[in-house]
Symmetry: C2
Subunit: 154 residues, 2 copies
DNA sequence: TATTGTTATACTCTATAACTATA
DNA sequence: TATAGTTATAGAGTATAACAATA
């Protein structure tokens, strides 16, 4: 041990997280950050952020949906969703079509190009999700989802 | 049903999350946001953010700790931690004392005022944590922590 | 009056480069 | 040369107020 290291060992106490490490909230946060980082990396080849993918998935699942509905479902503020859709539309991935009977809103849908990109992105998403599921071990996914939903409803 | 509502029902399909709702990552995110929102509200009376509390807890648990060590433990970039500590110090909650043998760094500690505030904040934190634990139902906390730690290590 | 989408803006969190003073 | 703390700044992500067009 060098004298500097020795002095360091004398001076610095062994650090502790002060109980934080046995807190669900703290570990929940670490897990969520890790999952989003991993998913973001997986979506990199498609130039999509996590939010972009979620918006595309919702539109694909329910074509004709209006912006307001998507924002409500994904908890994205309307002004922020405008920007996201502008970008996706500029890339030719989604369309904003007129809604018969309501000229205020748009019917959103995925373009063929969007669908093609989504196929790859969904495969990457699935691979990522499998990694997360492996971390669950023998804890059933449904059990985990139920608990997380209950926490989300706090 | 009004004619507007009827037209709405005809036009808008029943929306779906497109499989997102059965994804651990998505629900994990909802849970984490809910937990942090609840904790932030619980800490409001003490004028502390979640990060402030975690920093105070770590310093209290290990007095004499240096800024770098705290940043590493809590995953806070050093430049950002400077601001946080500046604020806590300006409020008289923490102290930056000289470290014998290394004039580059500071030994951090909680002041009596900080300790007094922390007592209340810790009680609020504990009450919040009990709410989270209730949402776990019969799933043991240790089991949950283990799974979340494994996910965090993805 | 209320609602959809929009614009502009602000606030928080997080991240990076470069500096200083020490080691 | 490397490290601790700092400064300045930039980039996400998120939030609110106010507007135009339409209901």
């Amino acid at each position: 041990m060098t004298s500097a290291a020795k002095r360091k060992a004398e001076t610095e106490p062994t650090p502790s997280l002060g109980g934080l490490e046995t807190t669900v909230g703290f570990v929940l946060r670490l897990a969520q950050v890790a999952v989003f980082k991993d998913l973001l990396a997986a979506l990199k080849p498609f130039d999509l952020r996590v939010t972009d993918l979620s918006v595309l998935l919702v539109i694909e699942a329910t074509p004709g949906l209006q912006q307001r509905a998507i924002g409500d479902m994904l908890r994205i503020q309307r002004p922020n969703l405008v920007i996201i859709l502008d970008q996706l539309q500029a890339r030719g991935l989604v369309r904003r079509d007129p809604v018969p009977g309501d000229r205020r809103s748009y019917a959103l849908s995925i373009t063929p190009e969007g669908a093609a990109l989504l196929r790859g992105a969904k495969a990457a998403h699935a691979a990522h999700d499998r990694k997360v599921l492996e971390a669950l071990g023998d804890l059933e996914k449904e059990r985990m989802l139920t608990v997380l939903e209950r926490i989300a409803a706090i």
